[in-house]
């Protein structure tokens, strides 16, 4: 008699690796071949996994079409099966998988859109948090600001891409209309995603604001975050044709009022 461990290992190889030889002799045939009986479970496992990807990646599915999405999802499932009793994290590495498939061709942007969709998932499922307590901030002496470490909302996610992924996402989610042709060379994305008041919000950012928020998110002191925001880079000039200066006070005010900066220590 096989041990429970041996039995389970054999069945799992049949379900996830398409190798039923170890499991078939363990199963009573009675009318229907063990292989078919195992296939019912293998199909359930795959279907549940793919449904989870469908709910996490609606824009990718729309962009590539149902058939290719399912083919891709099967390949992804074979390579990266679920590692949890909760299917929500199943698509964690899907963007990486798409970049392995399409890293060098004209569909390179797909993995970038997938990366955005995963961040959107994270934003939608993150903890709630109220706005910053302005009275508490009012008690801080101006000289002490430099040493403050601000906290972003738990749902805040920064996203930058050379492709206009946010526009691509918007055009492919929530509307049945055929999306228009898109210029992949249009303005690249630099955005902050956050969920406030039950709504997903997308803030477009200048280079300076992006670097500032990245520093804040990394837990750096305010003075260091401001330095990051103000640091000049070629992108500031070349990116959208105009030179910007980073206004720390304006940035702080904007992100506090928007519920992006929610606390400090």
């Amino acid at each position: 008699m096989p041990s429970l461990r041996e039995l389970q290992s054999g069945v799992m190889r049949a379900l996830l690796d398409g190798e039923p030889d170890g499991a078939v002799p363990l199963i009573a045939a009675r009318g229907i071949a063990p292989k078919h009986r195992l296939d019912v479970y293998a199909n359930n496992a795959r279907t549940g996994f793919i449904e989870s990807l469908i709910s996490s990646y609606p824009a990718i599915r729309r962009l590539v079409g149902e058939d290719y999405f399912r083919r891709c999802a099967r390949g992804f499932h074979a390579r990266h099966p679920s590692l949890s009793g909760d299917l929500q994290p199943a698509g964690t590495k899907f963007a990486q998988y798409l970049s392995e498939l399409h890293g060098d061709d004209e569909f390179r942007y797909l993995s970038e859109v997938a990366r955005l969709e995963w961040l959107i998932q994270e934003t939608l499922l993150a903890a709630d948090h109220g706005p910053l307590d302005l009275a508490k901030l009012g008690l801080v002496l101006p000289d002490d600001y430099d040493d403050l470490r601000f906290h972003l909302h738990p749902s805040a996610r920064l996203f930058a891409s050379q492709y206009p992924c946010v526009s691509i996402w918007e055009a492919n989610v929530g509307s049945d209309a055929e999306p228009e042709m898109m210029d992949l060379g249009a303005a690249p994305d630099r955005v902050l995603l956050v969920r406030t008041g039950g709504q997903l919000k997308c803030h477009r950012l200048s280079h300076g604001e992006f670097r500032f928020l990245r520093s804040v998110q990394a837990g750096e002191r305010f003075v260091a975050a401001v330095e990051s925001g103000a640091a000049r880079s070629e992108a500031d000039v070349a990116g959208d044709g105009e030179t910007r200066t980073f206004d720390a006070a304006a940035a702080l005010q904007r992100f506090v009022l928007a519920g992006v900066i929610v606390d400090f220590q």
Partner: protein, 306 residues
């Protein structure tokens, strides 16, 4: 032109305002009246229309998130209705170490939503760290009985409360099984101290697939252990002319399962009943009508008995 302002994006996170009078007053305990499985597409309707549903059962894993629309919705629904949390991912029968991260999340959901009933399945879904995320049957052996009973006891200790364990549908039987499923289920409840969530559709599906008498199954289960009953629909597929029933939860409860429900009333008495529907989910009113049918059958069965 650079759009520097925030833009609100249409997405599932949006929660419509709920009228202040929503709800059905203070919640009561789960009684014998039939409840329905809560699915995300019905959240807003339940919140805005406050339908007359006796209680709801939600899949625990669907509310594992730190926050967001679903967690918020369940919190508000829970304020107005009795609730059961029903797990599908704990993999209690697995020979991997018990997943304490998963259990920790269950505990968090229990602390958050304070369900009256808490349940999981008598199955396994993972080994070697890989998950099929399906309810796989155990072999009915002494080894599996000892193993799964100790895991259920471990989970109950961790959660600090008794849980109900549901019998699953099955499409295969293991050659090494040494006892019928009903003996296994009864023994697990006796050994681990768990309650039983008896899924009558699963019994029917297994009985048809493995050619046994469903009544024998009911007769083997201790009435004191049964604390919840599930009703659902199934589908059939054919392999080389042989029919195999599949537990799809995507159709109305069939007549044979309603008959089993009548028999269950006679043996188990008034036990909370749940209508489950997981694929091709219909309008809420269809589920409410199925629950009403269960209530009518139960009243009829008890009138006959009296």
């Amino acid at each position: 032109m650079m759009d520097n302002g925030a833009r609100s994006i249409t997405c599932a996170a949006t929660v419509s305002p709920v009228p202040a009078n929503a709800g059905i007053g203070p919640r009561a305990d789960i009684g014998p009246r039939a409840g329905i499985g809560l699915r995300a597409q019905h959240h807003l309707e339940v919140l805005s229309d406050a339908p007359a549903v006796a209680w709801f059962e939600a899949h625990t894993e669907n509310y594992f998130a730190d926050g967001g629309a679903h967690v918020e919705a369940l919190g508000r629904i829970r304020a107005n209705y009795p609730l059961s949390l029903h797990g599908v991912g704990l993999s209690l029968g697995s020979t991997d170490p018990l997943d304490t991260r998963h259990l920790e999340r269950v505990r968090r959901a229990v602390n958050r939503f304070e369900p009256e009933l808490l349940s999981e399945h008598l199955s396994w879904s993972s080994v070697g760290g890989r998950f099929a995320n399906d309810l796989l049957p155990l072999p009915y052996t002494e080894e599996a009985l000892r193993h799964v009973s100790s895991r259920i006891a471990q989970a109950q200790d961790f959660l600090g409360r008794r849980i109900l364990i549901e019998n699953v549908s099955s499409y295969l039987q293991f050659e090494c099984s040494r006892m019928p499923e009903w003996e296994f289920v009864a023994a697990v409840a006796a050994e681990s101290g768990c309650g039983i969530l008896l899924d009558l559709n699963n019994i029917y599906v297994a009985a048809r697939n493995h050619e046994f008498d469903a009544q024998r199954y009911l007769d083997a289960i201790d009435p004191r252990a049964v604390q919840e009953i599930h009703l659902a629909g199934h589908s059939a597929v054919e392999f080389e002319g042989q029919e195999l029933l599949i537990d799809t939860h995507g159709t109305p409860v069939c007549d044979a399962v309603w008959n089993l429900y009548r028999a269950a009333q006679r043996r188990f008495g008034d036990v909370p009943t749940l209508i489950e529907w997981d694929t091709d989910i219909p309008a809420l009113e269809v589920l409410v009508a199925e629950a009403a049918k269960a209530d009518a059958l139960r009243a009829e069965a008890h009138a006959l008995a009296a």
